[in-house]
């Protein structure tokens, strides 16, 4: 493992992108920062700007309004970066798949602009913080 890979694995800064989630997954993401789970143990930090981010935490089905924004945020992120689709909505759009306003799922949108994107999926409605941490570990083991 090179120094660069080691550093990337030890300090993944995350940026939270909500593209039409119901807020449940967002609350679970914030749970990861609380004393019980404390993802800062692994060097993860919630950063304010996608320019600083290494991992995008995408929640929601990607509504038609949100698609251009998601595309833009992915393009703004400094590469290399990984994407974590959190929740059933972000993985497969769940029960909202046939809705008129759904344009997702988000991984499809991201694959359209970057076919080689690293995307990990964390299903659940909402997924437990343990599951989110496991997903992050799996995504980073690919890098």
């Amino acid at each position: 493992m090179s120094l660069k890979t080691w550093a990337f694995k030890k300090s993944p800064w995350v940026y939270h992108v909500n593209v039409g989630a119901c807020n449940n997954c967002d609350i679970e993401i914030l749970d990861c920062l609380t004393p019980r789970f404390d993802i800062e143990r692994f060097g993860m930090l919630l950063v304010p700007s996608p320019r600083h981010a290494d991992v995008l935490l995408v929640t929601g089905i990607a509504t038609r309004q949100a698609v251009p924004r998601l595309r833009e945020v992915y393009e703004q992120t400094a590469k290399p970066c990984a994407v974590l689709c959190i929740g059933h909505c972000a993985c497969s759009m769940g029960i909202f798949a046939p809705s008129y306003h759904a344009a997702g799922p988000p991984d499809k949108i991201i694959r359209e602009i970057d076919p080689n994107a690293i995307i990990a999926y964390v299903p659940g409605c909402p997924p437990k913080p343990e599951a989110i941490i496991l997903g992050a570990v799996k995504a980073l083991s690919v890098v």
């Binding site: 120094l3 660069k4 080691w6 550093a7 990337f8 030890k10 300090s11 004393p35 404390d38 800062e40 143990r41 692994f42 060097g43 950063v47 304010p48 700007s49 320019r51 600083h52 290494d54 703004q76 400094a78 590469k79 290399p80």
Partner: protein, 309 residues
């Protein structure tokens, strides 16, 4: 040979400040985590952050002025490196000082803030511009009481503008000691703002302006910014110890005392950071100009009275 050892002291100063700064950054994050009942990151975390950022892509936004945007962090890093070298030299070998090096260090410690104002304004991002404007107001707010506090120490220590004299001279007389203690407390408040730590982190307020002046920085440029901030975190407490607290000693057991002085100031900064919410920009300005500045003037008068007796 002599010139060689002098150059070696300067190099040790710069590298040592970078190492101490990154360690302080870890202490900051670890203590903050413990205050919030968390575990906190491992000791190598700031180093891993810097290495990771160096390996990432550096994006220059289309709307940005490329030269200013990329040059600003380097200017800040250079300024803080020179300031650190002068401070370490004054502590390791006090005879290396020159007349007015206190003033030089004061100016050098202002440059990182000015550089980041330029960088934020050049980023072409509205958040960056708002952050730059706030940083400028914060700079105007804290500079006045900070300079007054340093003047207080200079007056109390035989009107010497040399760092070496400030390290070796002792303050005598009740009034001068009282004035220096007040000035020291004021200076701690000012470096809290200088470092951009809460409650004075208006310029980078993550929750409202998304990192403010740093919003567009990525990759290697952000690594330089982080390194500059880490070095400031080491340099400013060293500056305060040098001016107010008898400097550092590197002989046998006195090293422990030196480390203790530094860690005490650092932990005070971290505790204030973790127990106070961000203030509004006008509140900060009022606090520095109408509360701290009059007290600082009072401290200067006390020192003058004490040293003329």
């Amino acid at each position: 040979m002599n010139a060689l050892s002098t150059a070696l002291i300067y190099v040790v100063g710069v590298v040592g400040t970078a190492v101490v700064g990154l360690l302080s950054k870890w202490i900051d994050r670890k203590v903050s985590a413990r205050i919030q009942w968390r575990v906190g990151p491992p000791w190598y975390q700031p180093v891993a952050d810097i290495i990771k950022l160096l390996g990432k892509e550096t994006i220059v936004p289309e709307a940005a002025r490329k030269t200013g945007f990329l040059l600003a962090p380097l200017v800040g890093l250079a300024a803080v490196s020179v300031a650190a070298a002068i401070l370490w030299a004054a502590n390791i070998r006090p005879e290396l000082d020159f007349v007015g090096d206190v003033i030089v260090v004061l100016y050098l410690l202002t440059i990182p803030a000015i550089a980041i104002i330029a960088g934020g304004a050049a980023s072409g991002n509205p958040h960056g511009v708002v952050g730059a404007s706030r940083e400028m107001k914060t700079l105007l707010a804290y500079e006045l009481p900070f300079v007054l506090a340093i003047i207080c120490a200079i007056v109390a220590k035989d009107n010497s503008f040399k760092l070496g004299d400030l390290v070796t001279t002792n303050v005598v007389g009740g009034w001068a000691v009282a004035g220096s203690v007040i000035a020291f407390v004021i200076a701690i408040f000012c470096i809290q703002a200088k470092l951009g730590l809460p409650p004075f982190d208006m310029a980078e307020a993550e929750t409202e302006i998304m990192g403010g002046v740093y919003v567009e920085y990525s990759g290697a440029a952000l690594a330089v910014v982080q390194l500059t901030r880490a070095m400031m975190l080491a340099t400013l407490p060293i500056f305060l110890v040098t001016v107010f607290w008898g400097g550092f000693s590197f002989q046998s057991w006195a090293i422990l005392g030196s480390i203790l002085k530094y860690v005490v100031i650092l932990v005070v900064l971290i505790l204030v950071k973790n127990t106070n919410p961000r203030v509004r920009i006008d509140h900060a300005l009022k606090f520095f100009w109408f509360v701290l500045t009059p007290v600082a003037v009072l401290a200067v008068i006390m020192s003058l009275a004490g040293s003329s007796l």
